[in-house]
Symmetry: none
Subunit: 235 residues, 2 copies
DNA sequence: TAGTGGTCTAGACCACCCC
DNA sequence: GGGTGGTCTAGACCACTAA
């Protein structure tokens, strides 16, 4: 069925488009819950849900007795953006190369299933690639992809295009979630990254969405001595 | 009236205390919305609100058709947030404590001078504090502050307020620059963080500005096993 | 005083998961 | 099939803000 989408999603989209188009700018007051409820023919609680979600994203702020306003926040950093590693390396003037370690279909483990939003045991695509800058290994990329969203994922030429570039070309990425932690590599991971197993690694776990579709769940492991993340924020 | 506290607050407190006391541990399923609603004599939507808040804090995760579970997440923080560690911890329902390691005036080393934008050898303020969540060390904060911008920095009560809060109160932070890397701690650092020197650490190097003024240069060292950074982007 | 968000009710239907 | 969370309704009272 085409439209089983929740009602509050329509209201969120409306508000987002008004903000994006500039109809509402930072500091502007948006319509009250009651007004939105009437306008969209829903109950106040439903309008409330839409607003609540946008507040959580940081796009709106609420003041009791006063109203709901477009937040002042400006754009966030770009280095946590979806830039793919190949572009990043080229941007620094380095030469990027890919070494394909594995390329297959696997049954989703519980961990992967949870993160990818599928049932445990579902067949998912898996790629494992070592990325090098001027021949030096700087990233081990392990990616799980929902096969429903990219049925021919495994047939791509990963020597020429990174998984990221392939997926982005197909689905515009709208949401990214990253987490960053430090850990020690396993012996196998250290060998693939050509580093000492007793040195620290930086692990980035990344999920990307295109609208409501969760596209992929990726682990990016970097040798601590050869890689650093940057992020700035301007208010 | 005496008790103007919302009903959902009682439910939140109940769940928090059950989690903190260990009655529910990571992975456990908590009572369903209907059960909580009955137990506390409220409507389901009110129980929902309590759970929703705890999900947002990251303490619970929900799975449709299955239940609501205690999350197993590590301590987290957002890269783009200038929120101070104490608020972060309290937001998760934890208890924050500070242990002052050093508080003094030092001559800026070359590294510090470069990052802080002063001449080498200039006297700068230096604070070194271990932050704990429920008694567990999760951050070693080393901060260099330009004395011209906060002449009474060293006279503050760092047991009660974090350096961040003190500086933010004085200067609204407009720009933040972070870099993140993984490394092994020195023996001294490991001792302060009560961790093994052979385990990985997450190092965040942060500079904050207020307008054109560079306020401080800070190193935040975290045990890899107890801390994780988060960064999301929504379009 | 009129409008706003904060909270709350007592129901309801649905998709999904697990048995 | 029975339980779970996701969504939704059509009302309500309150504290707060602003005019």
């Amino acid at each position: 069925m085409a439209s089983s989408r929740p009602s509050y999603a329509r209201i969120k989209e409306y508000l987002l488009s008004e903000i994006e188009s500039g109809a509402y700018v930072a500091g502007d007051r948006i319509p009250a819950e009651n007004a939105l409820a009437t306008q969209f023919g829903v109950s106040r609680m439903t309008a409330n849900k839409a607003i609540r979600d946008l507040v959580q994203k940081g796009l709106l702020v609420r003041r009791v007795g006063s109203g709901t306003f477009v937040s002042q926040r400006k754009s966030e950093s770009s280095l946590f953006d979806i830039r793919n590693i190949a572009d990043e390396i080229r941007l620094r003037g380095g030469e990027h190369s890919s070494q394909i370690i594995a390329l297959k279909e696997v049954a989703a483990s519980e961990e992967v299933a949870v993160f990818l939003g599928v049932r445990t045991g579902t067949r998912v695509f898996y790629s494992e690639i070592v990325h090098r800058e001027n021949g030096v290994a700087i990233q081990l990329e392990r990616r799980h992809v929902n096969p429903k969203l990219a049925p021919d994922y495994l047939q791509q030429d990963f020597e020429r295009q990174t998984p990221n570039a392939i997926l982005v070309a197909r689905y515009p990425v709208t949401d990214v979630e990253n987490s960053v932690e430090a850990m020690l590599p396993s012996d196998e991971e250290a060998a693939l990254l050509e580093m000492s197993p007793s040195d620290a690694c930086l692990l980035v776990v990344r999920r990307t969405w295109s609208g409501e579709l969760l596209i992929s769940y990726t682990q990016l492991l970097h040798p601590g001595k050869r890689y650093k993340l940057n992020a700035s924020r301007n208010t």
